[in-house]
Every structure is written in structure tokens, then in C-alpha cells.
Subunit: 219 residues, 2 copies
Amino acid sequence: MPPKRVAIVTSSTRSPRLNPTITQYVYDVLTSDPMIPTNHNETTDTDPRHITLEILDLANQSLPLYDESVIPASLPAADPTPHYSKAHTRAWSAVVRQYDAFIFVTPQYNWSIPASLKNALDYLFFEWKGKPAGIVSYGGRGGGKAADHLRGVLTGLRMRVVGTAPGLSVKFTGLPVGVLSEEEMVRLDERDLVGWREAGVEGMMRNLGMELVCELDKV
Amino acid sequence: MPPKRVAIVTSSTRSPRLNPTITQYVYDVLTSDPMIPTNHNETTDTDPRHITLEILDLANQSLPLYDESVIPASLPAADPTPHYSKAHTRAWSAVVRQYDAFIFVTPQYNWSIPASLKNALDYLFFEWKGKPAGIVSYGGRGGGKAADHLRGVLTGLRMRVVGTAPGLSVKFTGLPVGVLSEEEMVRLDERDLVGWREAGVEGMMRNLGMELVCELDKV
């Protein structure tokens, strides 16, 4: 059995955006932790307790605002993909089915998650159902309201949401407006990084990672 | 001073959808109540305590998934409209600024509001701020989780959300999939209407209307 695949989801899709930078930070913290079994050779690793972490950016999915004419929860649970009415939904379904668990990295917009994330979630049902999920939020005060809100939505989708949900207070990392190319990433301000370290965010992130590994072992 | 304008917002944008039917029901209940000062001649009415009710359908706004490069809350409060980076945002801003209050009629998708509504809300800030808002939800069990969630988002936008939030349990009104033209509306099943009447939904709706009128009087 190959390692289980965990997607770290970049949830906002506007440009410019801070989300890819925060997602990369989450990836770096998790992959640098020797306790989380992620440092392995993908081609030869056969330990089923191992996981691979991959970044999944919603901006690459070309999903318009929800326009499915079928109800996702009404499709065949074992194989919903071919039954959607739109090609973009079938493509998204095929992507999500490849993963065994998800870490959603979300900004807070108006006390909740961005429409881009709710939209991507609403398109599918059985592709999410029963899979472990973790939440990382960020915002001026850490985005805790978005995290709480997302926990409800993921529970509604019957995902198994783990308890630890780190919130990253972004106070100094600026978002330059209209000057970044698609390729450029916003750089984290060292003061924010220090603040997160002092707040124990890296430890929470590793807890989240270990909780996901434990949940995956239960499957 | 002309009557104040209240928008009853149809929040989902997919097709087919039940939302226009439910929105029309809300409109009919409110305009048929002699206690709510809405039955007037628009051209000659000058009583500032009067309101006009209008249906505002998000499906007519052509808003893509959020792609503004400016932060709505950072624009000039008195006149944000010309400062948005996208033509669709400027158009949406101009529409919303015309209204003095809003009743959001929302379905529940996965324990929350549809992305189409969150998206339309996130595009703007000062166009919403300080205005009275009411919530009507619907769903298999009335959509109460979506209503609670929306209350948080609207509070984050600094709207003055009134207390009464009717929830309509839709058990019998079927949504035919893929057979309705754009023009056709789903018809309400008499059994759902009876259930709402027995549950006191019409009275709650009128309460909501009167609370909005009172809030508008405070402005």
C-alpha cells in the first residue's frame, strides 16, 4: 500500500493573495518535523502509515460559481465522478478523490471563509465524506471565526475534523496590491514568524499533522 | 423623502433552483400585511416611514468568484463605487447602494450559506455597513444553521441584523432537475405552505418586516 496522500489546500483564489505563502509555511513546518512520517522516497515507500503532503491550489481548478444541476449527495457514493453535469465538476471530483485527507488553509473574510472555498466544497459530497480534515486559518487576529465556521461546514460534509486548528495572526506581512506577478509570492515578515513561534503555532501544526496521521490509521 | 427601499435578495444562482419561488413567497407575505407600510403609490408617497419592497436576484449580477484587487473596507466610505478595480464590482456597488435595508433569502448548503451569497457580500463593505438586515432561510429542516452563520457574516460587515429569522422547512416542494426553463418557477406544495402557517412562519415574517421598519426609522 502506498503512502496516503494529504492535500494542503490553498483556499483563496484572488490575486494578489497571501494564501500560497501561508500554505507553503504550513507545508514547510509539517515536512520538517521528523515525528511526522513524511520524509520518504515516494517511489519505493510502502509503509501505509506514511503520508505524502502535496499543495492543492483552488486557483488552478477553474471552478465557476456553483452551477451543477445534480445534487452531489444523490450520486452513487462509490463512483460519483462521471455523473456530474459539468466537465469542471468531473475534473474537480477526480482531483479530490485522489487524496486521503485534507488540510484547509483559509483566510478570514467577514468573519467566515472565502466564497472560493465554500464553492469548491459544495461541488462535491462523497469525495469528502468520511475523510480526515484539518483546518489552519489566518487573519489579523488569526481567523478563528473562519475556522469555527469551516468546522461546521466540514462536519456537514461528514468529514472527520481533527481538534487542533492553528490560527496565524498576520500583523506585519504586507500584501502589496496590484504589483505582484502571478509567479511572485508574498514574503513572510520575520516579526510574524517570531509571533507564531512564541504562540506555539508550530507545535499546534505538528499536533494537527499527527492527529491526521492517527485518523488515517483508523481508516 | 421617498419611501425607503428594501431589497429581498435571492441568494442562490444555480439552475434549476427553488430560491426565486421562496423569495416570491416572502415578498407576497410581506406586501399583503396591512400593518407593514408597503401598499402605496410609489410616485406620490412621501412618508419616510414607508418602505418599498423589491426583489434583487443575485443571478442577474454576473459576479464571478471574488477577484477584486482592492480591499473594500479600505475605500472611501462615502463613495467607494468608482474605486473598485473591476467593472462588475462597480456595477454591484451601484446596485447595493440604492437600497436602505436587505432581507436575505438563503438556502442551506452543507450547514451554511451558498458561495454565491458569501461572494456577493465579500465584494463590498461600506455599501452594507450600518444598514438593517433580515434573514429568511429554507431547507429540509428550515436552514437554521445557514441563518446562524449568515448572522455572523452580516455582523462582521457591521450590518444591524434584526432578531427574527424565519426558517422554512421544505419537505414536499420538489425541485425538478434539468427540466425547468429559466422562466419557469417551481411551485410551492400546499402541504409545505400549511406547515409554515401552522409553525407561525407568516407571523415571524411580519415581525421581521416590522423590525426592519423600526430599524429604518432609527437611521
